[in-house]
Amino acid sequence: MVIQVRVDDRLIHGQVALVWTKELRTSGIIVANDGAPGNDVLRMTLQMATPTGQKLLVKTIADSARIINDERGREKRIFALTNSVRDVLRLVKACPGNIHSVNIANAGRFDNSDPAGKVRLCSTILVNPDELAAAKELVTLGLPVFNQVIPENRQVPIQELLDAAKV
């Protein structure tokens, strides 16, 4: 069972992985990203950032969904990561009932899309039109979708941010 999928444009990095896997008491991390499995350098840096004791899988979105839906993972506590809202939407739709919550923590800072077209939902979330559409759909799917960069922060519902930005 995926306790939380985190959207972070830096995927796994430094202490974030350690803090969250401790907070959520997970045994494994899945990085769900179509480009990552074939990218040796990225795999290596993701492995480096994985806390000791956590198992890591780096899979495409489709393969991640397969793993998340796997019977063997039902009793496991798993932490998943994507680097875009569009990707987490695909994942949630492919794994009904097996993902407990979505945390859009850091998004849109490195996606090379036109800055003029982006909307700032909060200090760490910048969405281009496609990402915005994905976020709007995500909040209708019946699971908690919020922004919480570190556990000390309040979980701010994404709907609240969408309303405040009047989008």
Partner: protein, 144 residues
């Protein structure tokens, strides 16, 4: 309450605090002394930090270099008499270890943080990259 003092020659203290802030958001428990950046006698600041540590507090002082005057000054104030830990030659990993620890800072816990973070100082390996294990094997291990 957990209290951390970082005392260094120059602005290393402020610098580390900025890194801690970005990575954890927990910098409010960190006080900095950037020694020798001006004429100010920083011993007063050191004494004030030690003075401010109460019996219910957990406190750690980080200094930059073992043989340096900053560490010498700290040690001469006998912080251990108030149960304050002193860690010298710190790296970011050690400061994070103390700031993020969810358990009580016992002598054993602090020693563990020091040992683990000392191991973080290493050269990046130049050896040939090891190919990832075949998918099935990796997935078996994930669910094990």
């Amino acid at each position: 309450m957990r209290k951390v003092l970082i005392a260094t020659h120059g602005y290393l203290a402020d610098g580390i605090k900025s890194s801690v802030s970005i990575l954890t958001g927990k910098e409010s428990c960190v006080t900095c002394i950037n020694a020798y950046v001006d004429e100010r006698d920083y011993s007063g600041d050191l004494a004030a930090f030690i003075e401010g540590v109460g019996p219910e507090d957990e406190a750690v002082i980080f200094t930059d270099i073992y043989g340096g005057s900053v560490n010498q000054k700290v040690v001469s104030l006998k912080p251990e008499e108030k149960g304050i830990f002193v860690i010298t030659g710190f790296n970011l990993s050690a400061v994070l270890g103390v700031v993020l620890s969810t358990e009580a800072l016992t002598p054993a816990a602090v020693e563990e943080i020091v040992t683990a973070s000392a191991r973080q100082l290493m050269q990046m390996p130049k050896k040939k990259r090891v190919p990832p294990p075949p998918d099935e094997q990796a997935e078996e291990a994930f669910f094990a």
